[in-house]
């Protein structure tokens, strides 16, 4: 069975003083074993919430999650502990994701200690092995996070996530706080670990060039909705949803000879609190029509390429 994790009609709502915030609204997708699913979108689109809901850091408000074929949407605390050993997360900010009062060794060792499966000697050995694996010099064992640079801190975070040999990892913007030269080191490390440890990634980011580089498939999110999903190659060659098109064209390219025509969006992102039914991109979309204010469905336009837009065929002359 190739499918490792599958979300069906997943929802996550938050109650706020101003109303219900629809952070993740009716999203379905699945990720195959050993593959990387990129989730892109702008801040506030719910991509980080989706990642956290998938691994039960947040309790879902509706829909189901299947992991290795088993329904894990609602699990008891014993099951949850077991599940979490298989699903881990790498955080965005290497400054806030490490406890400033714990050394590198303590941080990486903590999951081993909690699991209760190792005695003290094994724990120390295992920690050293993980440090080698993620490329932290063993001499840095006793240093504190504030003594390390961003790249090394991120390596510690990766080490902690990989300590118990998980199968599925949510990478929540793991390189967006790093400089370009260091970012490349971490991306390469993540790819190496994926092949050596047979990991499945859900890679959440706003950076389209990074997501193109690392993902097999991509989901594009806009205000809690999944607007387009297909393989990475297909998405960059042939984006169909008007939002995806605008998003791709907005990325400034470092190639000065290929400066494409920008689609400059008008208006601002609307609020995800108590949203109206219909396409949430409608307020900024230049193709907006009456139908767009009806609920939209994710429709497979081409094999493996689904778009949630009622006018997709007209717009793209399909």
């Amino acid at each position: 069975m190739a499918e490792l994790i599958k979300a069906t009609n997943l929802k996550k709502y938050f109650e706020t003083p101003r109303g219900t915030l629809h952070a993740v609204d009716d999203i379905s997708f699945s990720i195959d074993r050993g593959k990387t699913m990129g989730v892109v979108g702008e801040s506030g689109c719910g991509k980080s919430t989706l990642g956290r809901t998938m691994i039960h850091l947040l309790e879902s408000s509706g829909g189901t999650i299947h992991f290795e074929g088993e329904d894990v949407t609602r699990v008891n605390s014993g099951k949850l502990r077991k599940l979490r050993e298989n699903m881990q997360i790498i955080f965005q900010d290497p400054y806030s994701s490490l406890n400033p009062r714990m050394t590198v060794e303590q941080t990486i060792m903590e999951p081993l200690t909690i699991s209760g499966r190792f005695n003290k000697r094994d724990r120390i050995q295992e920690t050293a092995r993980i440090m080698d694996m993620v490329g932290i010099d063993r001499r840095l064992r006793l240093s504190y996070p504030h003594e390390l640079d961003g790249g090394r801190r991120q390596r510690v975070g990766i080490g902690r996530a990989l300590a118990l040999n998980p199968k599925f990892i949510v990478c929540d913007e793991p390189v967006s706080a790093l400089d370009v030269s260091i970012q490349a080191q971490i991306l390469n490390l993540l790819q190496d670990l994926q092949s050596s440890n047979e990991l499945t990634y859900m890679f959440v980011t706003h950076d389209l060039s990074v997501v193109r580089h690392i993902s097999d498939d991509i989901c594009v999110m806009y205000l809690g909705h999944l607007v387009e999903t297909c393989s990475s190659k297909e998405l960059f060659r042939n984006p169909l949803h008007p939002y995806t098109k605008a998003l791709l064209s907005a990325v400034p390219s470092a190639n000065i000879h290929k400066q494409q025509q920008r689609v400059i969006l008008e208006g601002e992102i609307t609020s995800p609190i108590n949203p109206k039914p219909g396409c949430r991109f409608a307020s900024r979309c230049k193709f907006v029509k009456e139908d767009c204010h009806q609920a939209q469905k994710l429709v497979e336009i081409a094999p493996g390429h689904s778009v949630s837009c009622c006018r997709v065929k007209e717009i793209n002359n399909l």
Binding site: D179, L187, H213, P252, S253, A254, I256, Q259, L265, E268
Partner: protein
């Protein structure tokens, strides 16, 4: 080109910080010229000295912890480092404005956005209240925000709109020089595109010169005329956008381009630059990039390199680049 074409000229600028008894050399002899109406992109990674350079030009470095140790800054041919604080205040906002990275902290949360723009206008112009309000509304319209929102507070605006208000403030007195410190880094790409478009349009309308500080080569490619790459507090490569992007000569610049995941091409693996940026409190002898350089020469670890004009208008601080260029040509 004549002297008065040059808007800003920085010569051998050096800035030091002191922290817990340690001396941190943030900027080490930076020199560049910015011509009227042009945009110079200052590219570099965290801690390379980009922001310190801009703050030196504005003369807003914190007095307690930092010091300009050497160099001169000429604004339209006039030295500004020796000016009194009073004279400087007349220049800030009117001749030179700065846009900071974080729009969330650059606005005062308890003052109406319109008032914040008006405040800058009346500081530099003696006009009536009515005129200044009208002018502030005009500025809001200019950056694409309805003038009716004059009476709203910053928290009622989204991040992109706040940044546009910041731009409106910076441009409200028609400055001749705009220092933009990572103006879009905190914003989403679609909003970034809107804001960059606004800046570009206004720059053309008002014929402003701009120093655009960024770490994003894509932003440079789309918005700048010239590029200066800064590393370890010194400029290591400089030239027009075309020469630097088409023919990067310094190994660090080359490394930056190679480490960047490309939108257009499929690369199986990225080529990171090994090692780490230099420690500004303990800079290496010789070339600052030496310890990370993929092709170090014999005297790279001992000899300080000079910025040399390798081809017309293309400067590079690497002896190897010079030799290669000679052997090629």
């Amino acid at each position: 080109m004549s002297e008065n074409d040059t808007m800003l000229s920085v010569r051998d600028l050096s800035v030091e910080y002191t922290s817990e008894g340690k001396v941190i050399s943030a900027v080490n002899g930076v020199s560049f010229d910015l011509k009227r109406g042009r945009t110079l992109g200052l590219v570099g990674e965290t801690g390379a000295g980009k922001t310190s350079t801009a703050k030196s030009i504005m003369r807003i470095l914190p007095d307690i912890s930092s010091r300009i140790t050497a160099g001169e800054i000429y604004l339209e041919g006039k030295e500004i480092l020796c000016l009194s604080e009073k004279e400087m205040r007349r220049i800030r906002g009117r001749k030179v404005s700065m846009i900071f990275q974080d729009p969330m902290t650059a606005l005062n949360p308890i003052i109406k956005v319109g008032e914040q723009i008006r405040e800058v206008i009346i500081q530099h112009n003696s006009i009536s209240k009515k005129e200044s309000v009208a002018r502030a509304k005009e500025m809001l319209e200019l950056v694409g925000i309805s003038g009716d929102r004059y009476h709203e507070y910053p928290h009622q605006f989204s991040g992109g709109m706040k940044q546009r208000v910041v731009i409106a403030i910076a441009l409200s007195c028609n400055p001749e020089l705009l220092l933009a410190d990572e103006p879009t880094t905190a914003l989403d790409v679609t909003i970034q595109a809107q804001v960059m478009e606004t800046i570009k349009k206004l720059k053309e309308e008002l014929n402003t010169s701009m120093l655009l500080i960024t770490h994003d080569l894509g932003v440079v490619a789309s918005a700048c005329d010239d590029v200066a790459v800064i590393y370890g507090g010194e400029i290591i490569e400089m030239g027009s956008k075309e020469v630097v992007f088409d023919n990067p000569l310094h190994p660090y610049t080359q490394g930056l381009f190679e480490a960047l995941p490309e939108m257009e091409e499929d690369a199986e693996r990225l080529k990171p630059i090994g090692g780490m940026p230099p420690d500004p409190s303990n800079l290496p002898k010789g070339c600052f990039f030496g310890p990370r350089c993929p092709h170090p020469g014999e005297n790279c670890s001992t000899e300080r390199k000079q910025l040399v004009e390798i081809e017309p208008g293309h400067f590079c601080r690497c002896g190897r680049a010079l030799k290669m260029e000679n052997s090629n040509g």
